[in-house]
Amino acid sequence: MAKELLKGNVAFAEAAIRAGCEAYFGYPITPQTEALEHMAKRMPELGRVFLQAESEVAAINMVYGAACAGVRVMSSSSSPGVSLMMEGLSYIAGSEVPAVLVDIMRGGPGLGNIAPSQGDYNQIVKGGGHGDYHPVVLAPASVQELIDFTVEAFDIAEKYLCIVIILADGSLGQMMEPAELPEMKKVRSVKERPNWALTGARDRDPNIITSIYMDPLVEEELNRRLMAKQAKIEANEVRFRELMLDDAEIAVIAFGTSGRVAQSAVKTAREEGIRVGLLRPISLYPYPYERVRQIAGKVKEILVVEMNSGQMLGDVRIGNEGRVPISFYGRQGGVIPLPDEVLEEIRKIQSRINASE
């Protein structure tokens, strides 16, 4: 398919449709509302389900219900709306059914504002809802990645019977870029749905999907099953991109929009002769700890750039295992760091390295 100029929110919604999403439940919130609008128009045209729920709490529980029926289902929201979904997400995780959620993050905490932010990192990447679980979290940095990862999210969710969250920010939702949409996939018939799904128990034993296990030993079996699944996810699903790290003395680590901003700064710094490279983690869970560890073994310093107060910084520290100094540059409250600010941080590190030699 040819490239089109697409707005991030519209792009991921259409990508989900083409990936065979049969049901969308949501509630409007800036800066992701165009996704809901697109779904409201397209889903009924295709004979699929669009429902604007009375709240995000209701929307995520509708997602839970549809997921139990074995259909491809998703929701999308932005930070305060996603907070409201946490209970439902935990029930989905405990029930081991597949679901896809897109969080177009905005400034916070509280009602905050509608500007781009990465302040939900810890909430989303570390689980969010109560109990012992991890959603798979993918962080796109372009409209094309928003499309590609949304399509992939449905496959990952079904492969591991887990939640996959696309973690992006207001700038990705609102910006337009040329991107290519996938071909339309056929929606599964009821007969083609997975064998665990609740499709009516005619001519078979009933399936039971639940997240309540009153006996701690039985609950522990679920927890162990989730742990085994997470081990597989950690082995198979680590994703990252990198740039000019081969001979780098300084590694910048940044995800999503921060990663793009850092990329501009890294390229300019290279033109100035600074040996700097970029690691852009894509899977935030599972985190590329091993790659961070390898990089920390080669560079002299690491710079973490985020649109928050330093949340992924914790994961970089885990991967670094104390090997090299880590500095942090962040903007908060919905402010996007500009490439020249990041460049200045890189220059500072370079002069520190020069001074110590």
Binding site: L5, I114, S171, Q174, P178, R260, A262, Q263, L338
Partner: protein, 184 residues
Amino acid sequence: MQTEIIISGFGGQGVLFAGQLLSYAALEKDLHVTWFPSYGPEMRGGTAHCTVIISDDEIGSPVIRNPTAAIVMNLPSLDKYEPLVKTDGVLVVNTSLVDRDPEREDLQIELVPANEIAEELGDKRLANLVMLGALLNHLDVLSIDEVGASLKRHIPAHHRDLLQGNIKAMQRGTALAAGEKLAT
């Protein structure tokens, strides 16, 4: 080679659409492009702006501090972006709504009475395209013909009757910037 353009004005002056038009033309020329809008409450009557970055290489940050060119449709936009345009860059000023001269001497400055020209052409909503035309005279990356072709393809169906007016508006802007006198 990367060209960064900021288009800024009041909400309703068509700055977001003017930016999209450049973006479509860039896409149709197989260039990399990002269009980044302001999307806050400013869209309802305050200032609105968008950043368009066009490049022959992959684009990193979709936002920048210092653009190579700026179109300013009103005084707050002139105050904000005049100091930020890169040396030797382009500043296109809508003199219809700006009551001071730009101060920078290291820029290519284009003074365009866009509202008056638009009204002369019969529709004050054409001011954005007059300004865009004036900018295109200074840009190497896209020609007025390329942008005009994109306009034909992407003008919303309910505005199709305005197509010729839009094209004329762009031509007037370009001609003004090129120092040509057009019979009115």
